[in-house]
Symmetry: C2
Subunit: 537 residues, 2 copies
């Protein structure tokens, strides 16, 4: 069997290696138009920031190592210019311009994705960059070393843009992140990104949202990084007539086979099924790309592996903060037409009595009809990746809220609490679903303000209340509530808030036990205030 | 409804709080014979070591806070001396010796467990301690401050003993851990505990295994901590005729109800079902105790919650190392009669090109008939708790090896790799189950040594080979293997090793592709050598 692979980065290299392990005798040729294969694309920002100092660390595999370890013929600086499906050949152009054809029995297409280019005036200026590969990285690094820019604008506040904000700041630049949407980090919802956005300000990063530029010059910065997402590099696939879908991504079946049964595709160029909704999507991420590549290789070698969809699990570190997400966010749940609600926990990553505990804002989105976990997001300084990985696993397993309650996670004071934040999320959802408590959300607070007869109480200690509260809330500390029930009117709902939503839940249970109609503010004053501050930044 | 609760630590306090939230009007009385309720028992070693300096941090809840927040009548320093089931009353003795009775509609028994006392000569000497509660903690702390001991022996190498080893060392003592069994940390298998044991030696802790003492004096140490496990404090339950089982633990059904339908029990005094095998067990852990307490409270309040068993998820930090486990270890798998095998990964906690990557030894035990994940253990400096939590969730979800392959976990270079170690474990198991590779284990190496015609190769680079190898292994570096196949005999198995089991797997695939019968050494030379060193320490 002769297998050709177009593209030698994450997907192509993974598939080639797996294919060799499955078939020692196959002829495998991998074409990469660039200079490097299998490089550490996710590490590039850290090379620029100086956290990674060894160039060699970015290029773990080389054409030579692929030959000696895997007996794979890697052809760098050769560009595939056409897929000739009828002849089952590729047309290949060498660096010297000469052209040849190569035949295949099976073809794997892993071209990846390219940065979206904005139609801005000045986009081609020498101080404007994108970051996708190793030459991009060296260009940025050399520009900074030589030109010593003082200010940088990052156009696009996605995860790579934010990683670069940290790393350019590390290089001593004043950094402004400019985002056209109302918020940065679109995988997060407004009520989780708020903490991240407020934190970035404390780290000296200027974040501008809702800003649509016409020209690069408007940034007023010495250098500009454009990081507004990627699009599939599917031109070859399109021109040979393979079916494509969202954003031009190549359509594949669960076996990663394209509309041509002898051509497979994987990685950032393919359209995927959303694992949670079953709908079509385009989610270019390294983890899924690697998994797809391995599955494609299995099937090329005659196996029977299937890819069951992408759930968009991702994580960002920026300075000392982490933000992570898995499954559906609210926009996706709405788009999928799924009836959902959400809970918020403000939980410590480990026992608070053990030094170094850090709180995280954990949001879990669930299906209100059956308690199925649809998605989760977390922002905080420690243990964020762990909780999102546990929830990602729960989502993969089709778990419901009650299953989160039952999860038996590793507890010792340096690692967690006897009730892990994920267990707590299950408890809160169960309490909602069994009617033990009702809740409203931060965005309903201002909608309700001004309603005639609105009855609001804040059950935090008086000192906390003095520092700011929900509009119109009266202070009744939790410890006084049972003795002050007479101050409240049973004929009107009592909206209860505290700092995080936990003590107010206890207050709601007290009120309910005494015949009141109590409603808890999810996430408490802390979340309400964080969203407001993020908007006003 | 009137509910009495015997015991005010983890289980009792959790149940009381939940019960109040479910029933505002119930009369709830909690009896605690000690001075403290709901204290941070898992934090006690760190107070002794000085990492926790605030006494108040250990006692988050007090009788006063339980009264003011939860309207619960907490009676400390009152000892329940009898449960009178027929009358549905308790006999209670106050600190002044006076006795009274208190009636109940429902009773919850959460007495916890007490340290096992060894029948050693000198066990009652003033320099011999156990550590289970706050008075124990203060006693040890004061002894060290006043008597300035130079040497400490810890009898029992369980998790608490090892935590104390670190914390006594922090106080400047020379520490020896003395364990009667052949290894410390019995929840781990010999081939994961080895790394922990070798590490402790580098931290200046002396570890003696297989040592059975007759007297405290044999330790020759200035102070001794006895930490050889706990037994249920079920005397009250026994004397009123409740059914008990393993180690005298109280038998409860899935609703946490004892053999008396008006009496519930939870926490370290109850017998549990093993979640993986369904068999009976005794696993005293804080996480399960808290979950059981909440479920018992739900049912006392008329709900319908069930406890689905304990899987023994636990984690230990000792100096800079973590060890964690979930589900079955090999002894438990054997005892359960489940056909199993195991895989070993030596994986970095995050991308190796990002600074600070640390390797962990990850072991996953699976059912060879269907690939179900039975248990996992990990030892390493970073990310150990995360992987065990993910695997604990997978076990809860009944996942199989192929599900581990599919898990979509959060990846960015500071947190993981595009293929997380848990994904890798799934891949290795799948390769075994689909016959792509055969493996032997470290303990089979010495069994095979000396077999006539034994054909062993070590595929590491020559420099690694020069530093030590498997007995009789010939050096054929992986990159030379395809050219040196002629040196091997196809009629005999080829046993292949490398450093960790990964390159030798690739070698096995090459050999298989050329018609050899290849067998991989799981965990590689590293694991074989680590177990050997741990035994010789």
């Amino acid at each position: 069997m002769k297998v050709l692979i177009i593209g030698g980065v994450a997907g192509g290299a993974t598939a080639a290696a797996r294919l060799r392990r499955l078939d020692e005798s196959a002829e495998i040729i991998m074409f990469e138009r660039g200079d490097y294969i299998s490089f550490a694309n996710c590490g590039l920002p850290y090379y620029i920031g100086g956290e990674i100092t060894d160039k060699g660390a970015l290029t773990v595999q080389t054409p030579e190592s692929f030959k000696s370890r895997l007996n794979i013929d890697v052809r760098v600086r050769e560009t595939v210019t056409a897929i000739n499906r009828k002849e089952k050949t590729l047309t290949v152009q060498k660096a010297d311009g000469s052209i040849y054809t190569e035949s295949y029995d099976k073809l794997l297409v892993t071209p990846g994705a390219a940065p979206v280019k904005l139609p801005l005036e000045g986009i081609d200026a020498p101080n404007v960059f994108t970051l996708r590969n190793i030459p991009d990285t060296y260009k940025i690094d050399e520009f900074i070393s030589r030109n010593k820019p003082k200010t940088a604008a990052i156009i696009g506040g996605g995860f790579i843009g934010l990683e670069m904000a940290e790393n350019l700041k590390r290089r001593g630049l004043e950094v402004t992140v400019i985002e056209a949407a109302p918020q940065i980090a679109a995988v997060l919802d407004e009520d989780t990104v708020c903490d991240l956005q407020n934190y970035l300000v404390t780290q000296g990063i200027t974040v501008k949202t809702n800003v649509k530029l016409n020209s690069i010059g408007e940034t007023g910065c010495d250098m500009v990084l454009v990081s507004v997402g990627v699009k599939p590099e599917s031109e070859l696939a399109v021109s040979c007539g393979l079916e494509t879908g969202i954003k031009g991504a190549i359509i594949v079946d669960e076996y990663l086979r394209t509309s041509d049964p002898d051509i497979y595709a994987a990685g950032d160029a393919v359209q995927i099924k959303n694992f949670v909704t079953g709908g079509d999507g385009y989610v270019p991420l390294a983890g899924p790309a690697n998994k797809q590549a391995r599955i494609a290789a299995d099937n090329i070698a005659g196996g029977n592996s299937t890819y069951k969809g992408t759930q968009g699990t991702s994580v960002l570190k920026v300075f000392g903060m982490a933000a992570a997400a898995t499954g559906l966010n609210e926009r996706a749940a709405k788009a999928g037409g799924i009836p959902y609600d959400k809970v918020f926990l403000y939980s410590a990553n480990h026992a608070t009595y053990y030094p170094g505990a850090e709180f995280m804002n954990l949001k879990v989105i669930f299906d209100t009809t059956n308690g199925r976990i649809l998605g989760a997001q977390a922002v905080g300084s420690g243990g964020v990746d762990k909780r999102i990985d546990v929830l990602a696993t729960a989502i993969r397993g089709g778990m419901r809220a009650s299953d989160l309650c039952d999860l038996e996670l590793a507890y010792a004071p340096p690692f967690s609490s006897a009730k892990d934040p994920v267990n707590m999320a299950g408890y809160v959802i169960e309490n909602l679903m069994t009617g033990k408590v009702k809740q409203i959300h931060w965005h309903q607070v201002d909608e309700l303000t001004g309603t005639p007869g609105l009855q609001r109480i804040d059950v935090r200690p008086a000192e906390a209340y003095a520092g700011g509260t929900i509009p119109g809330a009266v202070s009744i500390p939790l410890t006084e509530l049972r003795n002050r029930l007479g101050e409240l009117d049973k004929n009107r709902p009592v909206y209860v808030s505290c700092q995080t939503g936990l003590n107010s839940y206890i207050a709601c249970r007290i009120l309910t036990g005494h015949g009141f109609n109590a409603v808890n503010l999810a996430g408490g004053y802390r979340l309400y205030d964080s969203v407001r501050r993020a908007k006003n930044n």
